[in-house]
Subunit: 125 residues, 2 copies
DNA sequence: CCGTATCCGATGAGATACTG
DNA sequence: CAGTATCTCATCGGATACGG
């Protein structure tokens, strides 16, 4: 079902999908937190800060599905669930951290550009 | 003027915002295409493939706003508009390409993990 | 403690039609 | 050719409440 010449849009969509995995609101943050080692659900929630229970579970399920984290349930009372990066997840951490640290050190420049743009585009629009 | 320890959320939200800029459906693709040099609107649309006019404009405006691309209008008939990466945009290209190439070379592993997960979670759900 | 279910507003994204 | 304006539908993300 491909068009006649299967150019790189195949790859592009795959790449785009992965970028969206780490590009959603919380995934990158969660992955970097887990970079420090295994954590349980509650710890993670506290570490990330501001994330709702629902979004944390959703995010973790997504990461688990793509093979970036493992989920380990201890059938105790109260229950305890640990999350940990897989090998794949640790490999992902490299590029992600690179992007994160670039972003961190260029926040100011981006904000400046943004303000300049908004200024040009009409403050009283 | 921050406490020593509680400064995570500030940075995190800024970083998260930038990750979402490149993490949306088209930005990363557009940035990588522009990595090859300046292009006009139509070229870009063809190069990306599958993007609607509306989304390309929206994406480019966002990138322009954040200072990653410049927009140059030639007041000819028919009109011609060129887009080009700024210095900031070219710097961004590095980390983004790293992530993109990691994603490209690990698509198979991710798909495998995804299939395995979907399998576990109930194929007939 | 961890997770699910539900509701709801906000945003994302495509299709189409129209202007300079 | 490039961009805007709508309209419409899907998905995201938060709040809240409930269940094992």
């Amino acid at each position: 079902m491909k068009p006649r010449h299967a150019h790189h849009s195949e790859d592009c969509r795959a790449v785009s999908a992965i970028l969206q995995r780490v590009g959603d609101k919380w995934s990158a943050l969660v992955v970097t937190k887990l970079g420090a080692g295994a954590m349980r659900f509650g710890e993670l929630k506290a570490a990330v800060g501001g994330i709702s229970q629902k979004m944390l579970t959703t995010t973790l399920r997504g990461l688990e599905r793509d093979g970036f984290v493992t989920r380990t349930v201890f059938p105790t009372i109260p229950p305890r669930v640990d999350y940990e990066l897989t090998e794949l997840g640790r490999e992902l951490l490299g590029p992600v951290m690179a992007l994160v640290s670039w972003a961190t050190s260029n926040t100011e420049r981006i904000n400046a550009a943004r303000n300049a743009f908004d200024d040009r585009s009409g403050p009283a629009q």
